[in-house]
Symmetry: C2
Subunit: 704 residues, 2 copies
């Protein structure tokens, strides 16, 4: 018997070997293997230049209240291989043209007992893998509920990870750099207070997750095209170093209501031995559907200022009055309320920002706190919290609109929803129409606090559907969206390029809430920015917040030169100059860089990159051919040694270098900077000092 | 010490007696007492003609996560007494003018520890009491969450009750008649299957709850003006016969998110020793706010037929095709689908109904199943289930619209939401605009199945807000609403008279789903109809459902004469003739009554009434002066002995009496009826046989 069993086992093993199907990336250096294990369990494995990236990992989904989960009992009924190579032109971006080049393998599985079909589609790029589950239209699988997706990502070692804790409601955490095995003990410390948060596991982390292996690989796990499905977190089995998907549940703990035909989002694994390739990859965008907006002429990158930082620092307020214990829209009579004297969105102040924007070439002015309801907007689970159309008495909408128009400046709308999602949807058409009637082409939306409907999470399927609804509806109105506290992007801006920005990470505002880690901005491009641009709101020149608000002792953990570099390193078609005009006026020479820098690009060259340490990138401005360069540095000072070989050969440029002074330090001396001009060519080398939490920025002007 | 304690106790007791505050109804026969008990607990007591109606009962609310609930520690800081007497004219109704006459006592309580204010406002009518909690705007009570409302209704005995089981999602139950003490054992049997249901307690019952006492009182407990608050159920402490409010929770178990200033709905206790006065009472309407719709010219009572009963019986289908395992709006190509051959809402069939309506003087034609999505509309928790604007290929919208217009018939829209509430709100503006563009003035909406957002209940605050939103928005579009499966009405049609109907009870459809109790219609006017009209869809002439659909063996437990009487006894400004045209053509002489009967009234006289047994009412048609009379009977045959003294003295009338034949019986011989004409005056008496489950209907034509 035993012998027979062994023989049987060997046959299975050899059968498995026979069954294993391989796919190679276009350059042949990345290899995917797919294998049905015993009992028909689908597995995959990924390697890069003969190094194991993903050890054999299971695939499948656990269903709720169903006769059988989609985990095993499968046979392969079809395998289709194909190749794809195409260039496409983004509406805005880091580069003019994006190449989408992959080899594909689609494996059709049939579950024997249920006679259900599931396709696993793999797309293998030179820089990584995307795969998804597909459920074709079929009689035996129409509607089903996902109890948990059981996609594994088995790591080949105890890698270094740059992680934030898994959370159903926020990504606004500082990153922790640790070994995978240390996540469990460091988790509690990694979770800092947030206005809405729900963690679920001491080994849960969020994507995009960046890792580095002992043998020199950079690995990134994320997802692409997250539509009508819950956000995927990763939970680590830290005995075996196996990550498994952990979807965001709805209020009942369910993790996805599916109707076939349906495709899940793509699960992505980027890999390279060069960290710069992770930053340069467009794989996430490539895995998304092409642009669905026919006329994109109204989608334009935006550099803007706004009445915002003064509220964030506590210098002024969103609310108009302190008179009422609570307010009710349509009932509270603001005309009779006593102004609190520190309302930021008053007409005079807004005009000051408009003047500043006009004088310095900014496209737009954002104003928060312009509309009634801010007196009790947060923390009350208030349903009818904003109407998105009624200004405070001191915000003269028409006067401001006309003034901005006369100055050639676009007003940017603000829709804080307070996460009262039904209320926003009830008003969204009226609100968008109001925007268009008053010349607003872009909206910053916000989802602060706990979601209504109560019990839902920021990242559950139901609410992800809402964010998508808001973006698609905005497209109908030709409105650009910059959604804060919404789901972190997964490349959907390819399909809906009116989604010009998101927050969905710890932004600059935290520098006024106690500060962020100095190396935060050397990690974000590897993680949060993989899915799309961030409205990071850089450009803070006054690091001592008490200068703005004596009762706020927060310190901005960055040098002034670092803040300039962010306009390059934190790629976004939407860039704010977040500080107050008076602070820019104090440092007019440094401010010149923010005035000059472009926000849309024909080309980008990642020159140096190491997560947590430094990022240096040069970009060629759209249309003008001007080059700009930014370099941000982590916790320790260093010298950045780079070549300027991205410049056009044979030409001379005047490089204006905005850099940390020798004595600069993010904490003790953040405003110590130097500005120097040098003539350079593509053969020039640069050795540039970078302070701790510092960096440098360069504008290149061709000498003609 | 003991002696001192006793003296102290006596002082408190006497103080309490001194503190007791009394309010008498306008006619002096109903008395309310309010008393703060020891520890500042508010209580009330109600009596009628010296009989105890409500024994001393506690008042207050338990709060969630709050420093102190609103249950005790109160002192009275103010008492305001006033009287009110006014006549108002409803847009539609049982009578031309309604008198709102009450004495009021508003008691302001202050909670000592928290310094919070709560007002309890009592309005005492001759036929009962309404009271509510009011939370004025105040610093120490702004936002709070109700854990449970703790309003007691202490019964003075083990009364007979006509009840349906408490349920968060449905009221579509048959009534059980039992002693209060028997509710617990009968509860499980009382709960029959429903597409969405959630019971919560074996002694939980719904309002409006009708009771009869051993000493001859009729008592009704309900609520009025349920807006922005959960529906109140009642849970019985059956040792002490004390009902306590049991609010419908949200998905988290919370029972009301409140922002002060706020008033709860009114809790109502109707009482009389004459059951007819309960039916005639307009107290629930009177406790609602006056009409908020300025121009009401577009609100018109409606008598209608529809493509509906044929689907309910299974003779035809809502769905167009059986081709697809599931459908996706905007993706499924219906033009390529094979019709299933039994789709009711096809153009020819609709035209047949339009012809029938035009030929017989009906105002409107309802068509269900006209729009795409019915193939998988129920039970799949499907979000985007209907779009409310796209017809099936065989429903030629424009052709039907034009045809109906040429025939002088109004089409009635149908919006089944499948309880996908967000989806309905997303489409509601477009759907209402579509209605107006195509000549629809009224909509029947439906909320079948479990609510989305998932976990919410049909009667929770969040969803009650939705029903109200739909009604108010419809008013903006001048659309009349008839909402099925929505919250049972609480008199809101006074404020929004475009709410011309609701279902919210076990309607005629259940006669095709296995049948209802024969005496069901002798209870509904005492219960469900207290809050507003019901779209009961009477007028079934063919009781053997297998004649329509051989595979449906259900039997309509009513005689044909009973079905005619319902047009009087089930007051509604919206009345359907629910059966198929061919069945009406078979009984053209009886159908004449449905053609003749009015749907709006200048006066109504309840002549006989006993819950569960019989109801006889005469009504004077609006404008025409014609009288109609209806009488429904319960389980046992009887003779109805009435006087026709409601007729105008000195005039002669030809009464056409549609009655049960002697051999008639709801089960064995439901179609045995007689029609006779007699000349009558206001001095005439009538002794009319009523079969079990039977009744009679009379039209009076003045002899001139």
């Amino acid at each position: 018997m035993k012998k027979h069993f062994l023989i049987a086992l060997l046959s299975i093993l050899s059968l498995n070997l026979v069954n294993a199907q391989q796919l190679k990336s276009p350059n042949g250096e990345t290899t995917l293997s797919f294998l049905l294990k015993a009992d028909g369990i689908p597995t995959y494995q990924l390697s890069y230049r003969s190094k194991e990236v993903i050890r054999t990992s299971k695939l499948g989904l656990e269903l709720k209240n169903d006769k059988k989960s989609l985990l095993n009992d499968f046979v392969i009924t079809d395998t289709k291989n194909s190749s794809f190579d195409e260039n496409w032109t983004p509406v805005w971006g880091e580069v003019k043209t994006i190449r989408n080049h992959y080899n594909e393998m689609a494996i059709t599985l049939n579950q024997k007992e249920t006679n259900r079909q599931m396709i696993i589609r793999f797309r293998l790029y030179d820089e990584g893998l995307g795969f998804r589950y597909e459920f074709p239209s079929q009689k035996n699988l129409t509607y089903f509920v996902v109890k948990e997706e059981k996609t594994q990502f088995a790591m080949a070692g105890d890698h270094t990870a740059y992680w934030i804790a898994g959370d159903y409601d926020t990504q606004e955490y500082d990153y922790t750099t640790s070994k995978l095995s240390e996540i469990r003990v460091l988790n509690a410390k990694a979770i800092t207070a947030n206005l809405s948060q729900k963690s679920f596991s001491s080994t849960g982390v969020q994507t995009s997750l960046m890792m580095k292996t002992a043998n020199g690989l950079y690995i990134n796990l994320h997802e692409a095209a997250l539509i009508n499905y819950p956000c995927m977190h990763l939970n680590l089995d830290d005995k075996n170093m196996v990550f498994e998907s952990w979807l965001t549940p709805d209020v009942n703990g369910d993790k996805g209501y599916i109707q076939a035909p349906f495709n899940t989002p793509w699960r992505t694994i980027m890999v390279s031995d060069d960290a710069r390739e992770i930053l340069a990859s467009k794989m996430i965008y490539n895995l998304n559907e092409p642009n669905k907006i026919k006329d994109t002429s109204w989608i334009k990158p935006v550099k803007y200022v706004g009445v915002w930082w003064e509220m964030i620092t506590g210098k002024s307020s969103w609310a108009y009055t302190d008179d009422y214990p609570s307010v009710q829209l349509g009932i509270t009579d603001y005309s009779k309320a006593k102004p609190n004297g520190k309302h930021g969105a008053n007409t005079d102040n807004v005009k000051k920002y408009i003047d500043f924007a006009a004088a310095n070439g900014f496209d737009g002015v954002l104003v928060e706190g312009w509309n009634v309801g801010w007196e009790d907007w947060y923390g009350n689970s208030k349903d009818y919290v904003f109407d998105f159309v009624t200004p405070y008495p001191d915000f003269k909408l028409q006067e401001i609109r006309d003034y901005a128009k006369s100055k050639g400046v676009k007003m940017i709308m603000h829709h804080e929803t307070s996460s009262s999602v039904r209320n926003y949807e009830r008003h969204i058409d009226t609100a968008y129409k109001f925007m268009k009637a008053n010349g607003y082409d872009a909206v910053k939306s916000g989802y602060v606090g706990n979601i209504l409907p109560r019990g839902e999470n920021h990242y559950s399927q139901w609410i992800i559907n809402h964010y998508q609804y808001a973006v698609e509806k905005a497209a109908e109105y030709k409105i650009m969206v910059n959604a804060h506290e919404a789901i972190r992007p997964t490349g959907i801006a390819r399909t809906y390029p009116n989604l010009i920005g998101n927050e969905s990470a710890r932004g600059t505002e935290y520098q006024a809430f106690g500060g962020s880690k100095p190396n935060h901005v050397t990690i974000l491009p590897f993680t949060r920015l993989q899915g799309g641009p961030m409205d990071y709101t850089p450009g803070i020149f006054e690091m001592d917040i008490s200068k703005l608000n004596p009762s706020n002792t927060s310190h901005v953990n960055a040098t002034l030169a670092n803040q300039l570099a962010l306009y390059l390193t934190m790629y976004s078609p939407l860039q704010m100059a977040a500080d107050l005009p008076e602070n820019y006026n104090r440092f007019a020479d440094a401010f010149q860089f923010i005035k000059d820098v472009a926000v849309d690009w024909d080309d980008s060259k990642y020159i140096e990159a190491e997560p947590g340490e430094f990022i240096t990138v040069a970009r060629k401005a759209k249309g003008t051919g001007k080059w700009f360069l930014g370099s941000v540095n982590g916790d320790n000072s260093r010298t950045s040694n780079i070549s300027l070989d991205f410049l056009e050969a044979g030409k001379k440029y005047t490089a204006t270098i905005y850099a940390d002074a020798k004595e600069a330090h993010y904490k003790t001396n953040p405003q110590a900077y130097t500005i120097r001009k040098v003539v350079v060519t593509s053969k020039s080398k640069l050795a540039q000092f970078c302070a701790a939490g510092g960096g440098y920025a360069i504008s290149f002007l061709e000498n003609k």
